[in-house]
């Protein structure tokens, strides 16, 4: 039976703070006058920071709560920081755009916070049920956020697609969960791991169950063949939501992957290892190659995020501790850079038109040098060119792959990032080497909060080299117990 005592709740302080803030925001949004609603954004930011601070307070904890339903260990703490960062980025980027675009209903911030809670739950889950709850909490909030510009058909389409495919994935997950429960009699990840590694279970049923369970995370992470939703949903959703969506869920997905596949199934590693390799190669290939054919920068960034999922999968190959550390570190680099990249799209948004296609970027170097420089930093970081953060992330990943003995996979990864240079470069070309479009569509709106978020992201991306060591050791320290 699951023991429960109130004293343990203190370990979940960050989630509680977020929950309170989210509820407050949603409630206040009904009471407060529309103009003051942006004040609620400030409340959301404060809540997120408080949660972050709380997570820091609990950072030395390594405890299993509620008979291992929830595990608060350095691994979970690391992801808490990541999700706070993601939600902060999401909120800061959305303050101004919401006022002009889709009506300023402030439950938007509430939803973002709820999604963040969902992610945290997924990262801390020690039990598949908890994983499911976290997954659903996150997904549902994101379905609504994706369709937040109700009057825009693209936003609706994004929402409906995301909803249908997302629910299908979680449906398959639950079915897999039930099979797994049937086979092992428990839903605790570690217990399942022990029973499975003890062997004696019918192989086809087990494989089917595990595959079904894995689908949800592969879907969230946007690994091939479950990646089809990403381009349409990212393009359709409001840009701040896309920014949030491209970092948060992916990290959460990988968190569960690490928790389930490295912690629970170390013995079964050779079994699913080849599978991960195939997935990684396919994801990198699809992500990077189709991106070349894109004309919309936003959609290109969507495919690029698929590609990055492929790189991260390389870290999982071989199931080594170094690999896991590399995944964690890369997720941090990826979060900062992707928030920045989408942030630039948000910052450049004008009263009338949005900046999305390559032609919108033409001549940006002349018209908005700062934004162009920012985009240049983020793009080259995504390509993996030093001194940007992306390089160190990829470097750590490829070192892990080589250490695990998969030199050829590292070579493939490196070649894929060279291919990726092709489309990232095209944006830089447009910005610096083409004349600005004749009709300057007016100055972009002043968005202090978004500019702040992007500037911080830019400095972090460029300056990562300096504080490389603390981050590397943090990532290496917060590994799931092997």
């Amino acid at each position: 039976m699951i023991q429960f005592n109130a004293a343990d709740l203190v370990w979940l302080l960050p989630e509680i703070i977020l929950f309170v803030t989210a509820s407050a925001v949603v409630l206040l949004s009904v009471i407060v006058r529309p103009e003051a609603r942006s004040g609620l954004a400030a409340l959301a930011v404060i809540g997120a920071l408080a949660a972050g601070w709380a997570a820091y307070g609990l950072s030395d904890g390594n405890v299993e709560l509620f008979s291992r339903m929830v595990i608060v260990d350095p691994f979970a703490t690391y992801f808490r920081y990541l999700f706070v960062l993601a939600v902060l980025g999401g909120v800061l980027l959305s303050v101004r755009t919401l006022q002009t675009e889709g009506g300023n209903r402030s439950e938007y911030y509430g939803l973002m916070l709820f999604a963040a809670i969902g992610m945290m739950v997924m990262a801390e889950a020690g039990d598949l049920l908890m994983v499911y709850i976290g997954l659903e909490l996150m997904s549902l909030s994101l379905y609504i956020l994706a369709g937040f510009y109700r009057r825009e058909t693209r936003s609706n389409e994004a929402a409906i697609k995301y909803f249908i495919l997302g629910t299908l994935a979680s449906g398959i997950f639950v079915y897999g969960l039930s099979l797994l429960y049937g086979l092992t009699g428990t839903t605790s990840i570690r217990a399942i791991g022990e029973i499975v590694s003890a062997g004696g279970l019918s192989r086809p049923a087990l494989v089917l169950a595990l595959a079904m369970v894995g689908t949800a995370f592969a879907f969230k992470v946007a690994a091939v063949p479950f990646h089809m939703w990403t381009p349409d949903v990212y393009e359709g959703a409001p840009t701040p939501v896309t920014a949030f969506m491209s970092v948060g869920p992916k990290a959460a997905g990988f968190a569960v992957f690490l928790r389930v596949f490295l912690e629970a199934f170390p013995a079964a590693q050779p079994d699913w290892n080849n599978l991960v390799i195939v997935l990684s190669i396919l994801t990198m290939a699809v992500g990077n190659i189709i991106a070349i054919a894109q004309t919309s920068v936003k959609r290109m960034l969507a495919y690029s995020s698929i590609g990055h999922a492929g790189y991260i999968l390389i870290g999982l190959v071989g199931g080594t501790a170094v690999g896991a550390g590399a995944v964690l570190f890369y997720l941090l680099m990826y979060t900062i850079t992707n928030l920045g990249a989408f942030g630039i799209l948000v910052v450049l948004q004008r009263e009338k038109g949005r900046v999305e296609t390559l032609d919108d970027f033409a001549g940006l170097g002349k018209t908005h040098p700062a934004a162009a420089l920012g985009m240049l930093i983020f793009l080259f970081s995504l390509t993996g060119i030093p001194p940007m953060a992306g390089f160190f992330g990829k470097f750590y990943l490829f070192t892990a792959a080589v250490k695990a003995g998969y030199v050829w996979l590292a070579v493939l990864g490196v070649l894929m990032s060279a291919v990726s240079a092709f489309y990232y470069l095209r944006v830089v070309l447009a910005m610096y080497m083409q004349e600005p479009a004749a009709a300057g569509a007016g100055e972009p709106m002043s968005q202090p909060s978004a500019v702040l978020a992007v500037t911080i992201a830019a400095f972090l991306t460029v300056g990562i080299g300096i504080l490389l060591n603390p981050l590397l050791s943090l990532a290496a320290a917060s590994l799931p117990k092997m």
């Binding site: 170097g365 040098p369 240049l376 080259f380 060119i385 030093p386 001194p387 390089f391 470097f395 750590y396 490829f398 070192t399 080589v402 250490k403 030199v407 590292a410 070579v411 490196v414 070649l415 990032s417 060279a418 240079a421 092709f422 470069l425 830089v428 070309l429 610096y432 080497m433 080299g465 490389l468 060591n469 590397l472 050791s473 290496a476």
Partner: protein, 501 residues
């Protein structure tokens, strides 16, 4: 030396660039500041050269800080006989680039000088990095500003050239990244070059990592057949860009061979030496023949660089003292000469806005001082004894001849071809009748341009007449490397060893 001179020299340009970036836009100030910063870097590099002890073979001015111990990465800088000359060459050429861009670059002056200074920092970093990751970081950092420099301030077809340059170099160098990581894994979990130099790597590791490094360096040198980016990049780059490209960037590839490939993988070097010699020969003769028929001045000098760099790789992989020291001297000399030639083309281009040889003819009459500089550097380029081109070339030929007579003979044809294409070009540009009347009114070089060219002219003559001081700097380091190679009794790796599966 008390204070960390290497880091200081490397980062002064970077700090200058950052300051320029955030300074308010004022063209005059930008140029003067950029000149001041590059001169400071030059002063520091000369100071370092002064304090450099040619007797000791090991690394000097070593700085060692922890950067990311968990991954075995350390921030280590140092310089030895092989790399010290390149550092000074870099700072010298960069100052001249700033000078030549004084009037040529009119749009985005600030961004131009930022890019130029960042490139200088990256190049200085490459030559003084003693940690593989640090080396790779500087190696790649140089890509972005160079790409922007070609792409933004370049000639008509600059976008294609910039993209080609970027992708070509990136594709080559990413394989090196994997090579570095494999070294790390097999070399005792460290990226420190000094430590890795002591490690005896197994045959397969040597074989494959040598190939990985070779791809990156061959693209950079550029060796035939991966050279086709060079003509495009050189023709489209602005004058300063071409000077940097020809003067220093293509030397990083050959420097890489000397710093990493030869000492760390002796067996693999011996295995691949014949093939690389063959490729170098092709580069020399093929490069020269193609240079013969160029109609664009810059493209002509670019293809001649392919030929001259063929001599460098020939010297290095002749694997004897004369060859290697000849290779290094040829690199330094080629940097000076080709840098000067590109400066000259830039100067005349500024006046006539045409790079086609047919647009010129008989201009020696209207620009005598320009013509005398032009002839001086052309003679140095074709290896006239008494000027610096000859010293490097002759030593390389000597080294190659010692290793294999036929290679020596074939390479020697290079000096005839060089004379043919260079003199034929000089004749069509400077001499013959004045075909275009408007060339009559060409203005001769002014004092600023004179100051830009003078140091290179002095260097060309001084290094030609009295090259020993420059040669003596590298004796100790090269001897140490050669001794290590002989002690190791490098044996060729068979395919079976390289592919144990």
């Amino acid at each position: 030396m008390k204070f960390p001179i290497l880091s200081l020299t490397t980062y002064i340009p970077l700090i200058g660039a950052l300051y320029l970036l955030f300074m308010k836009e004022h063209e005059g100030m930008v140029r003067r500041l950029s000149l001041a910063v590059s001169l400071a870097a030059l002063a520091l590099s000369v100071l370092m050269l002064g304090h450099f002890d040619p007797k000791s073979a090991g690394f000097q001015f070593v700085e060692n800080l922890e950067w990311a111990p968990s991954l075995g990465i350390s921030y280590k800088m140092g310089v030895d006989g092989i790399s010290v000359l390149f550092i000074v060459l870099t700072t010298v050429l960069t100052v001249l680039c700033v000078l030549v861009s004084w009037t040529q670059v009119k749009k985005y002056v600030r961004e131009f000088h930022v890019a130029l200074l960042v490139i200088e920092s990256a190049m200085l970093g490459v030559f003084s990095a003693l940690d593989l990751v640090l080396f790779y970081v500087f190696w790649e950092v140089m890509l972005i500003p160079m790409f922007l420099m070609i792409g933004i301030w370049g000639g008509p077809n600059r976008v294609y050239a910039a993209v080609k340059f970027f992708l070509y170099t990136l594709a080559g160098s990413v394989l090196m990244l994997i090579g570095i990581i494999v070294l790390y894994v097999h070399g005792g979990k460290t990226f420190d070059v000094a430590a890795l130099l002591q490690v005896k790597f197994a045959a397969p590791v040597q074989f494959w990592v040598f190939l990985a490094f070779f791809v990156a360096f061959a693209v950079k040198v550029p060796m035939w057949p991966v050279h086709t980016w060079l003509p495009d990049a050189h023709t489209e780059a602005p004058t300063a860009g071409s000077v940097i490209l020809a003067g220093i960037l293509i030397k990083m590839g050959a420097y890489g061979f000397l710093r990493f490939s030869l000492p760390m993988f002796p067996d693999a070097t011996v295995t691949f030496a014949p093939y690389i010699l063959a490729l170098s020969l092709v580069a020399i003769i093929y490069g020269a023949l193609v240079t013969l028929v160029q109609t664009d001045l810059k493209k002509l000098i670019a293809y001649s660089s392919v030929s001259h760099m063929g001599f460098v790789t020939l010297g290095i992989f002749a694997l004897n003292r004369q060859g290697i020291e000849g290779g290094i001297m040829q690199m330094v000399n080629h940097g000076i000469i080709t840098g000067a030639l590109f400066l000259l083309i830039g100067i005349i281009y500024e006046r006539t806005h045409s790079r086609e040889i047919s647009a010129y003819g008989g201009i020696a009459r209207s620009v005598p001082r320009y013509a005398s500089f032009f002839v001086l550097f052309v003679l140095a380029s074709l290896g006239l004894p008494g000027l610096n081109g000859f010293v490097g070339e002759f030593l390389v030929l000597l080294g190659a001849f010692q290793r294999d007579r036929i290679v020596g003979v074939l390479a020697m044809t290079g000096i005839i071809l060089a004379a043919v294409y260079l003199l034929w070009m000089t004749q069509r540009v400077l001499f013959q009748e004045m075909t275009h009347p408007e060339n009559e009114k060409l203005a001769d070089i002014d004092t600023r341009e004179f100051i830009t060219l003078l140091p290179l002219a002095v260097l060309v003559v001084f290094l030609g007449v009295y090259p020993n001081p420059a040669l003596s700097v590298m004796h100790a380091s090269v001897d140490q490397m050669m001794a290590k190679m002989e002690a190791h009794k490098a044996a060729a790796i068979t395919w079976a060893q390289a592919w144990p599966f």
